[in-house]
């Protein structure tokens, strides 16, 4: 019954008027920015992050979580109505969702997405409440060797899950680790890679990096194919699914929720893989697989539930281990660090209000999405209809102001411009920037854990293999790496990411 009392504590924190208000604001703003074509959750969160700096930690995190769900739902809306998935996890939603919209069934698709997300969100919130404390208890036993091994596993997993070529994902990880080294070394106080620039003494600000690479770089890339947009501006009607629809969608929602919850916990997993996996699963299980791609409501229900469940459970490793499993969680960790909280297993015991408040607000946020978004669909349609040439200068302006406000530093504005160029070049080279951001956040932690491990073992690296838990984690990582190098698995993986 401890779980219930914990959830009760969480609900009482989350339902304070201030927190409720910021959760609502987060969901609203997240959806508003998230529906804008070409802006995924990472860019949306990075852009809106500065809004939370002045808030107390739990309010800030609750608002950010709201922004995340909002951005994700907004992305699905754009995928369905305009066939413009803003992020990998809504790519599959666009396949059938947009076909439904073309047949005048946009309302059904949007409602199904919202209902599926809500059910998935409710179930996975309960899962977090159930499993997070147990995982945190295990994590308290972790020594530096285990942490290092876990981070290696996380990075390798993110390579496997990345949609681009493997070699490039590995390269991006190393580049990210190297970028993470910029700044003063904590042990020797020697500035590394700072080129005598005092502004770099504290390292590269991750908001600057994320906004440059995901915001500006994305815009420069989007400007290449302007004008290929088919927005269905017809009025969205017939919101409620019919009895027939309910029959069709309940199975996919249940399976999507289960699949997404599991995949979300895995390091490197999260929303994107969950939605791809759910789509292939539903197609395989369907009695009429030929309907998929031509407007099958199951193809919206499954992936949308899966990506929401995955988005939710990816908070588990972040909150209990302090490990981001994807770039959104990397941003969340950055936000926690800015608030002066070191994410890890002790957060739950030392800051129960923050921890349980966040978990309760996840559910409240999902409820808000359901009640807020369907009535407001008219507004979202109008936001999607804003022409891109009006939109992108606005986004650049908000990025510039946002980055400046982090440290009130003009230097950060220039640094963001530079990372914009870098991000664009990465895209040109097919190098996916998400693993890089992850490695950037993990880099300094990995160095520290490696250093501590080898200090205790007097330089003997075999300690990684003699400690059972770290050996297990490392062998899973090695196994994953071997697996993807095998040609047959590689082909499967490529297929999974090209489901169209």
């Amino acid at each position: 019954m401890e779980m219930l009392s914990n959830l009760w504590l969480g609900l009482s924190v989350a339902s304070s008027l201030t927190n409720l208000g910021y959760c609502l604001l987060g969901v609203f703003l997240g959806t508003a920015i998230g529906v804008l074509p070409g802006l995924g959750p990472v860019a949306t969160i990075a852009m809106l992050l500065p809004l939370t700096f002045g808030l107390p930690p739990e309010t800030a995190l609750i608002m950010l979580a709201g922004i995340y769900y909002g951005a994700q739902y907004g992305g699905s809306t754009t995928a369905i109505l305009a066939n413009l998935p803003g992020e990998p996890s809504s790519v599959v939603t666009a396949l059938d969702g947009h076909q439904l919209a073309r047949q005048g069934q946009a309302g059904r698709a949007l409602a199904t997405a919202a209902i599926g997300s809500f059910i998935a969100g409710t179930v996975s919130t309960l899962l977090i409440a159930l499993f997070a404390p147990a995982l945190a208890a295990v994590a308290l036993q972790f020594g530096p060797a285990e942490y290092f091994a876990l981070m290696v596993l996380g990075l390798i997993a993110s390579v496997v899950m990345a949609s681009g070529p493997l070699l490039h994902a590995l390269g991006m990880i190393l580049v990210g680790l190297l970028l993470g080294m910029v700044g003063t070394d904590v042990n020797s106080a020697i500035p590394r890679y700072t080129f005598d620039v005092p502004m770099l003494a504290d390292g590269i600000n991750f908001v600057v990096l994320a906004m440059g690479i995901f915001g500006l770089g994305e815009i420069a890339a989007n400007l290449e194919n302007e004008g290929e947009r088919t927005l269905l501006t017809r009025k969205v009607t017939n919101l409620m699914p019919t009895r027939e629809d309910w029959k069709r969608i309940l199975g996919p929602i249940a399976r999507g929720t289960a699949l997404g919850s599991v995949l979300g916990i895995l390091p490197g997993g999260g929303a994107a893989l969950a939605s791809f996996g759910s789509y292939s699963l539903e197609k395989r299980l369907s009695k009429e697989p030929e309907r998929f791609g031509k407007g099958a409501i199951e193809g919206v229900a499954g992936p949308e539930s899966a990506n929401n469940a995955g988005a939710q459970t990816s908070f588990i490793p972040m909150l209990t281990l302090g490990l981001p499993s994807n770039s959104v969680m990397a941003l969340m960790i950055g936000a926690l660090l800015i608030q002066g909280i070191q994410p890890g297993p002790s957060v739950m015991s030392e800051q129960p209000a923050l921890f349980w408040g966040l978990i309760a607000s996840m559910w409240i946020g999902n409820l808000m999405l359901l009640v807020l978004n369907l009535p407001m669909i008219g507004l979202w349609v109008r936001m999607i209809a804003i022409p891109y040439h009006f939109l992108f200068p606005t986004i650049i302006a908000l990025c510039a102001i946002g980055v400046f406000s982090v440290n009130n530093s003009i230097f950060d504005v220039y640094a963001m411009a530079l990372f914009g160029v870098v991000g664009y070049l990465f895209r040109k080279l097919d190098a996916e920037p998400a693993p890089m951001l992850l490695a950037f956040i993990l880099g300094p932690m990995m160095e520290e854990f490696l250093r501590r491990t080898l200090l205790f073992s007097k330089g003997d690296p075999s300690v990684f293999l003699t400690r059972p838990l770290s050996a297990a984690l490392l062998s899973v990582a090695a196994g994953l790496l071997l697996l993807v190098v095998l040609p047959s698995v590689r082909r499967k993986r490529e297929e999974a990411f090209q489901e169209d």
Binding site: T394, A400, R451
Partner: protein
């Protein structure tokens, strides 16, 4: 088998890894390697740079062996204008103030689009955005950005 570039993308990333790896390695040489038991500040960076160099060589080799796709045309105009607009914002913010800096950012970046035309609608939208940012960020959130920059303070001092 004649050696020729088969994948421009691999070639590009290979060169990038080699460049970053060698820069990372040569700079880290000054930091002190230490040993595994007592890592110096250069230990981890050097290991990473070394791995990056290795990956660079592998990727370069791959670019000669495995067929890949060419790099699509770089949209220099868009890239340069977007970057320039952000830099202009940085240069103008303190001196000229937020409204001028924002206007410069918007006008320059909008040029990157084929479809943008400076009409009444665009100007109205720009004024709206400037007003919104001034109200929300400066008045509402208290971000220390001057509305009237230092350059004009003599003329327009309140």
């Amino acid at each position: 088998m004649a050696l020729r570039i088969r994948s421009e993308k691999d070639l590009g990333s290979g060169l990038l890894y080699l460049l970053l790896g060698s820069a990372g390695l040569s700079i880290a040489l000054d930091y002190g390697f230490g040993n595994a038991g007592r890592m110096g500040p250069g230990y981890f960076p050097m290991v990473i740079s070394g791995l990056l160099l290795f990956l660079g060589v592998v990727t370069l080799a791959r670019s000669l062996l495995i067929e890949g796709s060419p790099i699509t045309t770089v949209n220099w105009k868009g890239l340069i204008l977007v970057t320039l607009s952000v830099c202009l914002f940085g240069m103008l913010l303190m001196g000229a103030g937020l409204p001028v800096a924002l206007a410069a950012l918007i006008l320059v970046s909008a040029k990157a689009s084929e479809k943008f035309a400076l009409g009444a609608k665009a100007i109205a939208a720009m004024f709206g955005l400037v007003l919104f940012c001034a109200l929300v960020f400066v008045k509402g959130l208290g971000v220390p950005m001057p509305l009237v920059g230092a350059w004009f303070s003599g003329i327009l001092a309140p």
